[in-house]
């Protein structure tokens, strides 16, 4: 990822030099064993319970004391079931979407936070899909509580959770166009009109980066 400029300057006669700045960001690469803490134990247990581990898990990231398993979407349902039944991650506390428009082919990420009360541990599953084919199998059959979280992620990012019992918008009105949390969806986006005067949409106002 990279970001150009500062103070939102673009297309002007800016001579400050801030417009020429380029900030590039490196997202942490894959982590190799040993992972530290209880993460090796979790990975070992999963490998033992799930022979297709190396095929299903694209990479493992351990960052800031948290474990993230990147799961192929075709394997997600199986992995989730084994994590619940064999490894006793009883709860999926939530689903979070993130839109990375610059990662071509894997623009949309869904992140599942899992909690095991038995083991008193947390891990995270991350699945990425492309903008053109935003389908991820639904985990409602594994953890019923993901129902609303998946609906929210669909509403906000347009990720389609296959086999979800009722994938409809949850926050926005049913006929709302677009998915508001995507990065290409502007904040506000609609001019505010009041008593004949027009205030530009928040996305059109000056911003500081």
């Amino acid at each position: 990822m990279s970001e150009k400029g500062m103070f939102g300057v673009s297309g002007s006669g800016d001579t400050s030099g801030f417009g020429g700045l380029v900030n590039s960001t490196v997202i942490t690469g894959s982590t190799q064993r040993p992972f530290g803490a209880y993460f090796d134990q979790v990975a070992d247990d999963l490998e033992r319970a799930y022979p297709l581990f190396s095929d299903a898990i694209e990479k493992v990231i351990v960052d800031r004391g948290e474990l993230t398993l990147f799961v192929k979407r075709d394997r997600l349902f199986e992995v989730a079931k084994i994590l619940r039944d064999e490894l006793r991650f009883e709860m999926c506390v939530g689903v979070n979407g993130v839109h990375y428009p610059n990662e071509s082919g894997r623009e949309l990420h869904a992140i599942y936070s899992l909690l095991s009360i038995t083991r008193n541990q947390r891990i995270r599953l991350e699945v990425s899909v492309s903008d053109q084919d935003p389908h991820i199998p639904s985990l409602v059959e594994v953890w019923a509580g993901t129902n609303w979280h998946e609906r929210e992620t669909y509403d906000m990012f347009g990720i389609i959770f296959d086999n979800h019992p009722g994938l409809t918008r949850i926050m926005m009105p049913d006929d709302w166009p677009g998915h508001p949390q995507r990065k290409d969806y502007p904040l506000g986006g609609i001019d505010i009109e009041y008593k004949g005067a027009t205030v530009p949409a928040p996305s059109e106002r000056r911003s500081y980066r």
């Binding site: 900030n23 004391g65 709860m91 999926c92 506390v93 993130v98 009360i117 019923a144 509580g145």
Partner: protein, 446 residues
């Protein structure tokens, strides 16, 4: 069929059957008209503007007589796009947004968010002890004020007015403490990445001690009114049943989970903010019902008071310690003080940055307009809010503004259990069940 011209109630034919709109007015006429139809199955929209649905929550109830056959929740009426908005402001300004999510537990939202930012920055251990103890104390006060609303409005919705009056009387005392410490009664934006906005004002600890004493005494009023009250027990015992298996699959946490007998509380299980150093118990019941959840909330009040007393003892020893991290590249530069005009920058600080130190002026300007940079990565932090696990997903791309802020709000998740708790029960019990979940729609819809 009788025709009536009640301006507040009308009916029309649709493809789904006859739809009656009732917004008050003459119920007798409506009952007569509905009685004339053959259909037993009635779909009732309760809310979003209804005094007993705990906020702008819309419940869609399918009834056979008085029995509920299906329940669904309609939410989103309070969606304000806070998560999207934070992406357009710097990390510190995010506090001001997130505090408005679950408006009954602002300090929890702020603390969860700030713990996440601190984890991303890698300064978790640099936050001073005094700041952490103040956070804990404010959180526990907030737990009391939130539980007071849960108990008060819950009782009010079941027709008991006096408990609400007592509960709001106690809540007022807690809000006075918030005002004394932060300058604001709600949505304080008091907890900031790196510490808290300002130290306790002079004389705060003695006022807090007095308040703890008053609260402990006054809590007995509600206890006497409700615990063991036969009407209250009839309305709440065995109502809104949800067992442990239901809770785990639905991801339910907080008092609802603890009413199944499982003592799961993140303050004990996965301590944060130094909770491992405090003495307190986790109340549980094994009744899985509304009454059990009510008892848990009542007992948690006393536990919160215990923690606050320990905080006060610690704060007395930590007098004079800073309440913000030492790193001037992160610490919010303004030095707030509660003056005669409310809250503002301290005059000494303004004198310093405007007249004496160019460096201080530059730092102030840079941090306030641009903000600090946060290394790229993502974290999940969870704390035990009054309603259960409040989780924060933060993603940074290395810039001065969040790339993604997502709140896993316990109300949002727990509200999913409405159907499981209500179906097969009576209409009147829906109110008790929803009140026992204690959803706050600001947190649900964000």
């Amino acid at each position: 069929m009788t025709t009536f011209t009640d301006p507040y109630a009308s009916s029309q034919e649709t493809t789904e059957g006859r739809v009656y709109s009732v917004t008050g007015g003459d119920w007798d006429a409506l009952v007569t008209e509905i009685g004339a139809t053959k259909e037993e199955r009635v779909v009732v929209n309760m809310g979003p503007q209804h005094p007993s649905t705990h906020g702008v929550l819309r419940l869609i109830l399918e009834l056979e007589g008085e029995t509920i056959t299906e329940t669904r929740c309609g939410i989103g009426y309070l969606h304000t796009g806070i998560e999207k908005n934070t992406e357009y402001r710097n990390w510190t300004q995010g506090v001001t947004f997130v505090t408005r999510m679950d408006y009954l537990s602002p300090i929890f939202n702020e603390t969860a968010y700030c713990l996440g930012v601190e984890k991303l920055l890698g300064i978790t251990n640099d936050v001073t002890e005094r700041a952490t103890v103040i956070r804990v104390m404010m959180m526990e006060f907030n737990r009391i004020s939130s539980h007071m609303v849960a108990l008060g409005t819950g009782a009010l919705e079941l027709g008991a007015l006096s408990p609400m009056i007592f509960a709001f009387r106690e809540r007022e005392k807690v809000l006075d403490i918030f005002e004394l410490v932060s300058g604001l009664r709600m949505n304080m934006a008091y907890v900031r990445p790196g510490g808290v906005a300002q130290d306790l004002p002079a004389g705060a600890l003695s006022k807090i001690k007095q308040t703890v004493k008053d609260l402990r005494h006054n809590f007995k009023d509600n206890e006497k009114l409700l615990v063991g009250n036969s009407i209250w027990i009839k309305r709440t015992q065995g109502i809104g049943y949800l067992d442990l298996a239901g809770c785990t699959t639905l991801g339910i946490t907080g008092p609802v989970l603890r009413s199944t007998g499982l003592a799961w509380d993140l303050r004990k299980a996965q301590p944060y903010c130094g909770y491992e150093d405090y003495q307190f118990d986790i109340p549980t019941t094994d009744t899985c019902d509304v009454y059990g959840r009510f008892l848990i909330r009542m007992q948690e009040l006393e536990q919160s008071l215990r923690i606050i007393e320990q905080c006060v003892a610690k704060l007395e020893k930590l007098e004079g310690q800073p309440v913000m991290v030492a790193d001037k590249k992160i610490a919010w530069p303004s030095q707030l003080s509660v003056g005669a005009d409310g809250m503002g920058n301290s005059l000494n600080h303004i004198r310093e940055i405007m007249g004496e130190s160019m460096e201080a002026l530059i730092h102030h300007f840079k941090l306030v307009t641009e903000g600090f940079r946060v290394p790229a990565g993502q974290v999940y932090t969870a704390i035990e809010s009054p309603r259960g696990e409040l989780g924060v997903n933060l993603v940074s791309d290395g810039g001065t503004r969040p790339y993604r802020v997502h709140f896993r709000d316990p109300s949002f998740n727990n509200l999913q259990s409405t159907a499981a708790m209500c179906e097969g029960g009576q209409v009147a019990d829906v109110i008790a069940a929803v009140a026992s979940i204690d959803p706050v729609m600001g947190g649900v819809d964000r």
